[in-house]
Amino acid sequence: MSEEERKVMVVPCSGIGKTYGTVSREAAYEVVEDTRSGTTDLVALSLLVLGDEDARAAVRAHPAVTIDGCKLGCAAKMVQECGGRVARGIAVLDVYRRNRELKPQGIAELNEGGILLAHAVAEEIAAVVDDVLAGVEGQTHA
């Protein structure tokens, strides 16, 4: 399997009015730019909403990790709507509940708690990416 085929799509929500949306985006950037840059790609939700063929093809061809900032779950819903497979949907609020000391504040710019919470979310995403890719590899060699 080629490197391009062994990728996981990371889809953060486009939350604009609440701090959890910003956390979801920051976590996604941390994964695709820093910790799993070779094995993940970012998919913009606005492209899925509009029906962009490249974006839809990406989530159909690869498993996706979605990150949602609120209970409406736009990212997970949109990936499913486009025929993609959500390997795991992460809710920022759930991660916060497990890390109460990391209280996020700020929308345009996160406070320290928000940055640390984004890091915690990013670690969960990275773990899922590793699991998914290990699973794919396992199937390939089976």
């Binding site: 604009i16 970012l42 939700l45």
Partner: protein
């Protein structure tokens, strides 16, 4: 007393996470919402047009809306028009930068200096459009301006709590979704209006300000509103 959604301008940013220009749209929209025109603007997350409910999809009919896009794919403008209503005005960051002779921004995650300048320019343009749009009369039934559209259209608070509450009522056997009805009921009850034939007529007039209801005749709709309002008042009375 609860208020019906007031006179505000909606802002929908593409927020495209893969491009620096997408980040510019989001930060510019936030600057307008929080700093430049905080009492006069409201926003909604673009995906809610699909992932949300009727109230979310009513957004661009209720508020004259400015779509702010990062690139010429114009996801915000096109998706708003497709799923909610035609934006009253449109801004594309790449066009705006070309118009001002500014450098292309870099850094979707952390904007560079050019990106921060792009945020300022974009926010100023959007704030100017907000002022222009507030000077026009908006028809919430049609989701368009009364009379000719302003020049701006050609050139084209929390924020996420912008959904218009919708209630579905049975009008002569047909389920009809009526935007803002829960707020209208609350407002009428808060004004001490008890259910009556006269109040049903008033309800009908108010509902028709915000809705273009095709189903049934006015009499049938008025009867449905009278029934629902009586039920609403009964529930409220039981609660107190």
């Amino acid at each position: 007393m609860p208020e019906l959604p007031g006179r505000k301008v909606g802002i929908v940013a593409c927020s495209g996470e893969e491009l620096a220009e997408g980040t510019v749209t989001r930060l510019a929209a936030l600057k307008v919402l929080e700093q430049l025109r905080p009492g006069e603007t409201v926003t909604i997350c673009l995906p809610l047009f699909l992932a949300g409910g009727e109230g979310d999809r009513a957004f661009a009919r209720f508020y004259p809306t400015i779509a702010v896009d990062g690139c010429d794919k114009r996801c915000a403008a096109r998706a708003t028009e497709q799923f909610s209503g035609k934006p009253a005005a449109s801004v594309v960051v790449t066009d705006l930068l070309a118009e001002h002779g500014l450098y292309r921004p870099l850094g979707a995650r952390r904007l560079d200096a050019a990106g921060r300048q792009a945020v300022e320019v974009t926010a100023d343009r959007v704030a100017g459009l907000v002022d222009e749009l507030l000077g026009e009369r908006w028809d919430r039934r049609r989701g368009s301006f009364v009379g000719a559209a302003p020049q701006a259209a050609a050139q084209g608070g929390c924020a996420c709590a912008s959904a218009i509450p919708v209630q579905t009522v049975d009008v002569d056997g047909r389920a009809v979704a009526i935007a803002a009805l829960p707020l209208i009921f609350e407002q009428f009850r808060g004004a001490g209006k008890a259910p009556s034939a006269e109040v049903a007529k008033e309800l009908l007039e108010t509902v028709l300000i915000y809705n273009d209801v095709a189903a049934g005749t006015d009499d049938e709709l008025a009867a449905a509103l009278a029934r629902e309002y009586a039920a609403f008042c009964g529930q409220e009375l039981a609660r107190t």
